[in-house]
């Protein structure tokens, strides 16, 4: 049996259920199934409500026969009816939950798929602004919460309402005095419980806060244990730890104590109404009224129990729905983000590409008021190697972002063979470029999958050939399963090998234009030398853009663009720039200066 767990997350989320509507709109294809299951839930609840009434009849049969004989035939009759009612109730309940399970899980799956598809449609600026952790928690935690609510909470809430109303009606039909007694004693208990809940809420929040602080502190100290030790900072850090630990102890037991009181108090409320029902009930019997029998009393005891159930459900559903609303806000927020523009109408294709690339008065900023690139113009002739150098933050990587249309230029244009990249679809543009970045991206999968990536029909011979070109062949030979060796985050593969792998991946793609963004800065210079020949093969005959901070690697470039604060301040070949004795010379010499 799942333990009832209360969640206390973000309390800043004020009661706001607006976002829940979005979930229902999303579930539209399942409207019929949802309605059917809700009807089933209502019917199942009705069986719960009429149960006690039958028990009353049964008890009355017994008490009526106390002095004479009990009508056993009538008893069997009621017994059979009751067992059928119970069985029908159970079956209805299960079918209802079964349907909702299918609905909620399908919805969850579809939500996850939609978010994942969305990820590939979002402009890159979205990812520069949000953390991976945030996106992940939307895909799993938030969607999960929505599924839970769909699968259980809503049906529970509906049944609770039906049960609540039904029980009240049944009680008043049976006996209004006892009905009042039951309701009042339960409500009294609940008022008390409400106060308790409110008080414990504070401690729960504090507990979450201190748990968070504890996590943060421990994470920081453990990951930097070398520094803590090296600076003899144990004592200081231990003092911080002790303080958090003590606060955690305090809030932990208080919150758990208060929430641990719920069950015993509920139990007491049960006993309280029990006694009161008897006291009042017997008083009525003694007053000579025929309205109340032992059967009535027993029925009311069951009613009292049934009456408190929906009250509990209401309290729980309220928090759950609140959280679900917050979760669905987050999920539908990402789904509603503006996407990259639709380009199905752009049919321009560059079939036999020469490789002339031109930047014409390009202006761009990540935010409109702060231009990173102010007025950039240059021409790269087909087959040339263009080097882009400059201090950090000068806008070198931005040029790559614009070339690949990861970001769109604010004004000006970029032309490939005289055609503006705006007129080509992104899909086709990406076909034209090979791109190798500083951050080597290797995913969990076999070496083959990592090399081939989404290309199809690559033979082993081709793989062998490419690997020997980039110098990976020896590495492949050391692997027990060669190309089918599985790589994961923890696999030991050096920075150099990772880089060689991404170069091989790009070579397999074999596009006419090439971008190398700091492709070798993670690699030591001797390894770089080895990769360099692979790079040279790759740049041969392709227009290539090379960004590097080790200037020795780009000395042979056909054109070096020196970028500072978003503008080209110098351009030319290495020896031309070097003799100018300008910024480039300074940059170059600082490598060796002493």
């Amino acid at each position: 049996m799942p333990m009832p767990r209360m969640r206390y997350t973000d309390t800043k989320q004020k009661t706001d259920f607006k976002a829940l509507g979005k979930i229902f709109r999303f579930c539209k294809p399942y409207t019929f199934a949802i309605i059917v299951s809700l009807i089933l839930a209502i019917l199942a609840t009705v069986t719960t409500i009429i149960g006690p009434n039958k028990i009353r009849e049964l008890t009355n049969l017994i008490t009526d026969g106390l002095a004479t004989d009990i009508d056993l035939q009538a008893v069997s009759y009621i017994g059979i009816i009751l067992i059928s009612i119970y069985a029908i109730g159970a079956v209805l309940n299960y079918i209802q939950q079964y349907i909702l399970a299918i609905v909620s899980q399908n919805t969850a799956k579809k939500l996850r798929t939609n978010i994942d598809e969305k990820i590939n449609k979002l402009p890159l600026s979205y990812f520069d602004k949000s953390t991976t952790g945030d996106i992940l928690s939307r895909v799993t935690n938030d969607v999960d919460l929505i599924a839970q609510t769909l699968g259980a909470s809503i049906a529970n809430l509906i049944s609770a309402i039906v049960l609540f109303v039904g029980v009240i009606i049944m009680m008043f039909i049976t006996n209004w005095v006892l009905a009042l007694v039951t309701i009042l004693s339960s409500l009294f208990g609940f008022a008390f419980l409400g106060i308790l809940l409110k008080r414990s809420q504070k401690h729960f929040i504090n507990r979450q806060i201190y748990l968070g602080k504890m996590n943060g502190h421990i994470e920081e100290i453990y990951s930097n244990y070398i520094l803590v030790r090296s600076f003899n900072a144990h004592k200081n850090e231990k003092r911080k730890f002790n303080e958090i630990n003590k606060n955690l102890l305090n809030t932990e037991w208080k919150s758990q104590f208060l929430s641990g009181l719920m069950r015993p108090i509920m139990h007491f409320i049960g006993n309280l109404s029990y006694t009161l029902i008897f006291i009042v009930g017997v008083a009525i019997i003694l007053s000579g009224s025929e309205a109340v029998t032992i059967g009535t009393l027993i029925a009311f005891i069951i009613y009292a129990k049934l009456f408190t159930e929906p009250l509990q459900t209401f309290a729980q559903s309220l928090t759950q729905l609140q959280q679900t609303s917050a979760a669905s806000t987050r999920v539908f927020e990402i789904l509603a983000m503006p996407e990259l523009s639709d380009e199905s109408h752009k049919t321009t294709r560059l079939t036999s590409i020469k490789g002339d690339v031109e930047f014409r008065n390009v202006r761009f900023g990540y935010s409109k008021d702060k231009p990173v690139i102010k007025n950039l113009s240059f021409k790269a002739k087909a087959g040339q190697k263009i080097a882009i150098v400059g201090p950090t933050g000068a806008g070198k990587t931005t040029i790559v972002n614009l070339l690949m249309r990861f970001y769109e230029v604010d004004s000006g244009e970029i032309l490939i063979d005289g055609i503006s990249t705006k007129d080509i679809s992104r899909y086709h543009l990406h076909e034209l470029f090979d791109m190798i970045l500083q951050d080597t991206w290797i995913f969990n999968g076999t070496l083959r999958e990592n090399l081939v990536y989404n290309k199809t029909g690559v033979t082993d011979e081709e793989l062998e050939k490419i690997c020997s070109v980039v110098g990976l062949n020896h590495f492949v030979d050391t692997l027990s399963n060669r190309f089918d060796t599985y790589f994961s985050d923890t696999s030991t593969i050096s920075a150099g090998q990772r880089q060689q792998l991404t170069i091989a991946r790009a070579m397999l793609k074999n596009s006419p234009l090439l971008i190398l963004d700091e492709a070798t800065s993670n690699v030591d210079t001797r390894t770089e030398k080895q990769i360099q020949s692979a790079m040279d093969t790759l740049t041969q005959g392709r227009t290539s853009f090379v960004i590097a901070h080790r200037l020795s690697t780009i000395k042979n470039a056909d054109l070096i663009l020196v970028i500072k604060d978003g503008d080209i301040i110098e351009q030319g070949k290495h020896h031309e720039l070097y003799v100018k004795n300008g910024f480039y010379t300074q940059l170059y010499n600082s490598q060796f200066a002493e």
Partner: protein, 580 residues
Amino acid sequence: MIKIIKQFRFIDWMLVIFILSLIVTEVWIDLKIPDYTMLLTQSVASGQATNNDILTNGGWMLLYSLFSLICTIFCVLLCTRLASTISFRLREQVYDKVSQFSNCEMRKFSIASLVTRSTNDITQIQMFFAIGFQILIKAPIMAIWGICKISSTSIEWTLSTLICVFLIVVFITILVLICLPKFKKMQILIDNVNNATRENVSGIRVVHAFNAENYQQEKFEKVNTDLFKTQLFTIKGISLLMPVITLLMNGLTLAIYWIGAILINNAPVLERAMILGNMTAFTQYALLIIMSFILLVVVFIMLPRAMVAYKRVQEVLSCKVSIVEGSAPSPERVGTVEFRNVGLKSDSGNVEILSNISFTIKKGEHVAIIGATGSGKTSLIDLIPRFTEATSGAVLVDNMNVKDYKLDDLQTRVAVITQKAILFKGSIKDNIAYGEEEQSIDKERLKQAIDIAEAEFIYDLPDKLETESAQGGTNFSGGQKQRISIARAIYKNADIIIFDDSFSALDYKTDLTLRQNIRQHLPDKTIIIIAQRIGTIKNADKIIVLDNGKIVGMGSHNELLKTCPIYNQIALSQLSKEEL
């Protein structure tokens, strides 16, 4: 689990005994209350009830339930206290233990896992003691006592109760056996979905560049479907739980009444009211017993999780620390380092990371270490402050083996600036004067450290030295972080300062001025520099060239150019012949 109990102090035992007696009282009362419902029913049924009877019996019943409530409140109070104290102590023990860990143990557990063990796992244990512990004691007592109490009333009723208990326990057990493995699998499947998403997000540029959107989506859809299927299966299973249990419990009530009707019919008229009273009491006993069994099953589902968590915590606590501090008297502070035939093997013991390393560094010398990635540079310098333990040979600081030092003493002599600059959460001032009490911070030394580290940008920040750094220093650029961490090492005022590739995040100009500052202002410090750039190390007094864990060359730049082919290759890969 037994180990936790062994660690109980006297006061804890007192608590446990107190909890135990409270629980026994509780059970006694809980089983007493139905007696009054029996009396109440009997007096009503016999038709001889007076208002007085009802009020006294009802009064007693209320009084008892109030007493039961008070007992439970105390019991909950003590249990939560006990549980929180246990987790409080465990957290401290784990924290203290991890503080003694060195590289070897950190690698063995991984930091992420240690964090989970110190927080989530301990919370699991705590939850068990706060909730499960109580039930584990109460449920069996209640079940046995309850069964004893009812077995004397009617064999038919008892039998139907036992059948119901049996059915419920068997049903839950089967359900759990079917669903639990799937639940365990679920965590892996959720991780898979997370990984697929993370992969897509982290490689978003590559994904676009390769037009691999569909490829990634197909991958995602596969793990998504796996998760969907497993979740649906478990939910379908778990959904059976409540309807079946409700059905069985309702069925039992009905059975008791039905059997009761027959029993009453067969009994003499005089005893009939009594049987009726027994019947109402019996339904309550039966429900109490069934609830105990259900709770027991729940606890047995919780228990393995808590046990696994405890095992993971215990692994940390019982881990043998590989680096134990020495106790020799502290030698005079000079600033010399010597390696005598030092060897280092990997944790598994079959790969040699360093072999046969011997060299000496004199006070005030500048020594550079160069070599390819993976040649053992960082492993070598980690031996000096004893972050790692040498497998063979000896490392001496100020002419004493590092193994003989008290750790704190050794650390004051050596400062290390790691490759990846790290900032702690807190102000810049606290970051530079790290480990020092607020009141004992030396303002003059702080200013000097900032000047030498070329970190004057701090003064341009809105709150200057009081500017807060986020955890991990995410609000500073790589170069800024590196300069702050260099200032931190300089402030420490150690005799030996080690720069582990700390300059590569800096541009060439800052790199140069920083090194000039050190020469000028800290002439008597011993400096060890690991670097990639030839320019950074060209002027060192001594350069050590490492290749595959061995020293393949040692000497000045000009000497090495002539004698060491590997050094020559490195140099040529960065500079042309003329530039050398």
